[in-house]
């Protein structure tokens, strides 16, 4: 990734593209949400009516987009590939799942504390955050980088999957947490709740997008990009590289946790398969397809791949894994900068002529 070698003029135009991209992305998100709400409000007989199920599906996509954003923040701008981000997503999800389970029934021990929404919301960000802090501190301090880091994150999520599969964990074993009834006193199965969760997810994506954008253009973000491109050099310039890595890693894990917490009430279940290494690595291909190191690319990739997944697993279940596998190969070999890279290239072509 030799971004540093780009010519200044091109660099400036790219910068402009990105800031314009930020505006366009924000606008698209807002307009998209509004459009879905309006279409949903149409009578059910209307040809353009968007059903509750579709709204819930789109809400689920929003949580995936949030997760993709979290992965892109550290992979795209810091160069650390986490193959275990599903673990943070799942931890947030389990915190939310426990809160939902605690409605109506008293949970034993510390789990009972999660019956209060503020504490549960705190757990949603703290559980993944603390894990990321401990894990990242150990890893970055001893300068575990590159592929080694990827492998141990995969081992981490694998170990957590085994742990959460045990009934002794009190997390529902391999069935996970399910049969939720209400959230904040409202019934979960109602249409209003579906819309509210959809909106909450969309707003969360928008806020996270702005947050990531702010981080990326800040001094911290610039040091992060420098670390990605030449870690030793940044270290010799006097920056504490491990602090930079750690702070972004923790923020990313917290975003993943929020995504998980929004995901659980919309899907109605959280089980250890979310910890499976396959899910975490699937997230990486969303980002890779959309375009690593561009925030809107991550959002786009998550949307496109998951839409394809929904369509294909319904129509041709056998074809889905072929396609997903093929995407990994084609994107890494032919589209190293993803769809966003293609868009940026076309933009430059237009600018040059």
């Amino acid at each position: 990734m030799s971004h540093a070698t780009l010519e200044p003029r091109r660099d400036r135009s790219r910068q402009a593209f990105l800031s314009r991209a930020t505006l366009i992305t924000s606008a698209l998100l807002v307009v998209g949400m509004a459009l879905v709400l309006v279409l949903h409000a149409l009578p059910a007989t209307h040809p353009l009516h968007v059903s509750s199920a579709t709204v819930a599906l789109l809400g689920k996509y929003f949580t995936y987009m949030l997760l993709a954003l979290a992965v892109d923040l550290i992979w795209g701008y810091l160069g650390i590939l986490s193959l275990g981000h599903g673990a943070f997503f799942a931890l947030g999800g389990y915190a939310m799942g426990l809160y939902l389970n605690a409605q109506g029934t008293a949970l034993p021990g510390w789990q009972g504390l999660l019956a209060s929404f503020p504490l549960a919301a705190l757990a949603v960000v703290l559980a993944p955050g603390i894990l990321a802090l401990a894990f990242g501190w150990l890893a970055f301090r001893s300068r575990v980088t590159g592929v080694y880091f990827s492998i141990i994150t995969q081992a981490l999520t694998f170990a957590l999957m085994l742990a959460f599969n045990r009934n002794e964990m009190g997390m529902g074993g391999s069935t996970g947490l399910t049969r939720f009834s209400e959230l904040l006193g409202f019934r979960l199965a109602s249409d209003g709740m579906t819309v509210a969760l959809f909106l909450a997810s969309g707003i969360a994506v928008l806020l996270a997008f702005w947050l990531c954008r702010a981080i990326v253009v800040s001094r911290l973000g610039r040091v992060a990009v420098a670390t990605r491109d030449a870690e030793a050099r940044v270290r010799f310039l006097g920056y504490r590289v491990e602090h930079v890595k750690l702070s972004l890693f923790v923020v990313s894990a917290m975003l993943a946790g929020i995504a998980g917490a929004l995901y659980v009430p919309q899907v109605g279940i959280i089980n250890p398969s979310t910890f499976a290494p396959l899910f975490s690595i699937e997230v990486v291909v969303w980002v890779a397809l959309g375009g690593r190191a561009t925030l809107f690319g991550a959002l786009l990739g998550a949307l496109v791949v998951n839409y394809l997944k929904t369509v294909l697993t319904g129509a041709m279940p056998d074809a889905w894994l072929f396609l997903l596998g093929g995407l990994f190969v084609v994107v890494t070999m032919a589209l190293p900068r993803g769809i966003a890279g293609v868009l940026a290239w076309r933009h430059r072509q237009e600018g040059a002529t």
Binding site: I151, I152, L321
Partner: protein
């Protein structure tokens, strides 16, 4: 191949000898029944007639009389009585043995001449009934009878049955057989049986014979004796403690064996990765699927050669190597070659390949797991003593693992390819300048690593069922083993795999299988943080 055909030949010879022996025995038996009926027919009839009574006590005396008689048929009679197959004609004086009592009509033979005697049923034949006391008594009689006759094997089995079953009724005859017995192993076994009886009778001196005996029956009897009080009980407790500590040692040996066999699977799965990742620096996430391909090759060859699992398995060793190796070369040529120096991209692309391979197998064969049969010589266990038995398939995998490791190590150390691989790894540009075709070396090395993964699949097919997800479970473990052992170090991989296997087995009884695995995973993660170069860090400067 050669060793196997040799073993097969030996097997055939043994079978031939066995059938000869059987024929001889039959001849002897025929001679015995016709020529030397040591009692006359009326005497035999009288002996059997004594069984025809309602009192079990009288029956017991009659059985004892049979056992003490000279009748050549007595073992068979007692056995038939024990099995509930000896009976008397309801309206007549004939005695019969039922040869098959599963149907309504029973085929019969005459109890005295053993000649076929038509058929009978519940209505025409009265079976002599026995109770539990009589059953125990009969078992003892039969055991001491077979001690007196038969070949060494059946005498040994009879002596073995007697342990814990010696009682006041048969102790004299057992003692007599002990004096007559010529085989030392049978004598030892009888000594133990007698000593156990003496201990039960309160003889503390007999405890000496039982020291360090691992038989469960000895242990159970001693536990009862030690539960009492007095000098005998405390001495018995001492012997028991000795036995327990000996058992504990054998248990540890057993755990070690299980650990090593689990470790050998890890090593087999990881050793191919140690070459592609450790030596070449290529991350191959499809490694697990190459293992799976090796396992499926075994299954396919076995389908093509029904009824010959042994031959199929032997053929699968080169077969699995070639199939997985060919896929490896294909992957290297089409994907990995273009991603040189971009490890994260290689990781993602090969992960995609792994998904494709999995789905390919799922579509071509089926998502269901397939069972691969084990050949006869890998079934069962090698029973070393009562506390230690090694299952042959695990032993086989352990041996196979060491063999593969040795072959691979020799290949890297002594062959031209090994030399070139090491040269390219150390300094690619310089190696090329010296005329090494680096691209070809890359391809062959990757093919070699993939082929070894195929071999791992062949071995795995003997331990678990074969399915499309077979390889997935090994990928995380394999990478950890390679990293734990020190990248680029074959010995490190061996030591790391074996020690992880043993640690896992040692932890298992305390915390359960899943938690043991988690602890090992977390332990390795922490270890890598502490020592990123693994157990065996490369010495000196490696460019």
């Amino acid at each position: 191949m050669m060793t196997n055909s040799h073993a097969g030949g030996r097997h055939c010879a043994r079978r031939l000898r066995h059938s000869l022996l059987c024929g001889l025995l039959l001849l002897c038996a025929a001679w015995a029944t016709t020529a030397s009926a040591a009692v006359s027919e009326p005497q035999a009839r009288a002996l059997l007639q004594a069984l025809d009574t309602r009192s079990f006590e009288a029956k017991g005396e009659a059985a004892q009389a049979i056992a003490d008689s000279q009748a050549s048929q007595k073992t068979r009679w007692l056995q038939a009585l024990l099995d509930g197959r000896l009976g008397k004609e309801r309206r007549g004086e004939q005695f019969y043995i039922v040869t098959d009592d599963s149907g309504r009509e029973w085929p019969l033979i005459d109890a005295i001449t053993f000649a076929e005697a038509g058929s009978g049923s519940r209505r025409t034949v009265d079976i002599f009934k026995i109770n539990n006391d009589l059953r125990t008594q009969l078992q003892g009689m039969i055991a001491s009878l077979s001690l007196a006759e038969g070949d060494e094997r059946s005498r040994l089995a009879a002596a073995d049955r007697l342990i814990g079953d010696v009682n006041a009724d048969n102790v004299e005859s057992v003692r007599a057989s002990r004096e007559r017995e010529e085989s030392a192993t049978v004598r030892d076994r009888l000594d133990i049986a007698l000593a156990l009886y003496r201990v039960q009778q309160g003889d503390a001196t007999a405890l000496k014979t039982l020291k360090g005996n691992l038989d469960t029956r000895v242990r159970n009897t001693l536990t009862t004796v030690a539960a009492g009080d007095g000098e005998l009980a405390s001495q018995a407790q001492q012997v028991l403690d000795g036995i327990e500590s000996k058992r504990a040692w054998y248990d540890r040996a057993q755990t070690l064996f299980f650990g090593l066999s689990a470790g050998s699977i890890l090593v087999l799965a990881a050793i191919g990765l140690a070459i592609t990742f450790g030596v070449m620096g290529v991350i191959n996430m499809a490694h697990g699927e190459l293992i799976m391909l090796g396992a499926y090759t075994t299954w396919l060859i076995q389908q093509a050669l029904p009824g010959q699992p042994g031959l199929a398995l032997v053929l699968a060793i080169p077969g699995g190597f070639l199939v997985a190796g060919a896929f490896g070369v294909l992957i290297e040529r089409t994907v990995i070659r273009f991603l040189k120096g971009r490890p994260l991209e290689t990781l993602l692309a090969t992960f995609g390949l792994s998904l494709i391979l999995q789905q390919l197998v799922r579509t071509l064969f089926s998502p269901l797991n397939r069972r691969v049969a084990s050949p006869e010589w890998l079934q069962g266990a090698w029973q070393i003593n009562d506390a230690l038995s090694l299952t042959l398939n695990r032993l086989g995998v352990l041996g196979f693992c060491l063999l593969v490791f040795a072959a691979l190590w020799a290949l890297m150390r002594y062959t031209r390819l090994g030399l070139e691989v090491r040269a390219v790894t150390q300094n690619r540009a310089m190696a090329r300048a010296m005329g090494v075709r680096a691209a070809r070396v890359d391809m062959l090395t990757f093919g070699l690593g993939a082929g070894v993964a195929g071999l791992a699949g062949v071995a795995l097919s003997q331990l678990t069922n074969v399915g499309p997800n077979l390889g997935q479970g090994y990928i995380v473990d394999s990478f950890l083993v390679v990293v734990f052992g020190g990248v680029g170090n074959l010995w490190g991989t061996l030591v790391a795999g074996m020690s992880l296997g043993v640690i896992n087995q040692v932890l298992q009884p305390w915390v359960g299988a899943v938690l043991a695995k988690i602890i090992v995973l977390v332990g390795v993660i922490l270890f890598i943080q502490k020592r990123p170069q693994g157990i065996f860090a490369p010495k000196g400067r490696v460019s």
